[in-house]
Symmetry: C2
């Protein structure tokens, strides 16, 4: 393997390391905050922690689709993605959400390790071949870069529960 391939592999490992780091921040909040804290709003009139946790689970679960695998929590989309908080849904319990959070992360870790360096630079499933050829950044690696920042954005909000 050339130094250049090593660089691409290293860049992928760094993107995944940041992903894991942001996951750990959610793990830490799950260990620290009570169900009552999660059910509180991050600021008056804004989203609850429970909604944001469910939102992260649904969005992260959908990464599996972008990578070309089957997702498990598509039924969370109505509650946590397609509709805003306080739309009248009965949310799963914090314990159920914790189980889902862990399951999504285990599944993603397994898929991440199954992809080769070259695989990461192939198109994700939500872009057409012609659009991908026009913009080769629309690859699988970009989904992780983008979703890590999406998670950081909401983690910045969820810490306000503390």
């Amino acid at each position: 393997m050339s130094a250049s391939t090593d660089y691409a592999k290293l860049a992928i490992e760094q993107v995944i390391a940041e992903w894991q780091k942001q996951n750990k921040r959610v793990d830490d909040m799950l260990a620290k905050f009570s169900a009552e804290q999660f059910n509180s709003e991050i600021a008056p009139g804004k989203n609850t922690g429970t909604y944001l946790l469910g939102h992260l689970i649904a969005v992260n679960d959908n990464i599996t689709t972008f990578l070309g695998f089957e997702r498990s929590y598509a039924h969370y989309d109505d509650m946590f993605v397609k509709n805003p908080d306080k739309s009248g849904f009965a949310f799963p319990s914090l314990d159920e959400l914790k189980t889902a959070w862990n399951k999504v992360n285990e599944t993603l870790a397994k898929h991440f390790s199954s992809l080769s360096t070259e695989d990461w630079f192939t198109k994700h499933t939500a872009v057409s071949q012609s659009d991908f050829e026009a913009n080769p950044q629309r690859n699988k690696l970009n989904i992780i870069i983008n979703r890590t920042n999406h998670q950081s954005y909401h983690v910045g909000q969820m810490v306000l529960l503390g």
Copy 2:
């Protein structure tokens, strides 16, 4: 250039594209929110938008140091990094902060474009040679991956001003 070098180059471009995307979110808030909104707390008893904006300017300005260049806003560190909000500092005006924000981004953009693919995988300036050899992820690219997520975290908070 081999396909492998292209992959490393593409990964760097994607990391920088996400950085630019997160900068644009701050640009949009600067265009939209009033000085009064920036001076408000993101949630009762939490940081003000002005503090978070100054914090992002100081932290992002310091990226120049990590890349091996001179920084311009080291004098912001006392106000916006080393001390918490409401420590009694007289903050710069929103116009001054906007000017600083834009200047930092222009300077970083210039430095980013001066680095070769190989440069991005060399050690950043705050890690020793031996620590870098033990963990080659501690390179310049990692600073951008990490600081982009740092910014996303605070952007998620600053949007609460709206």
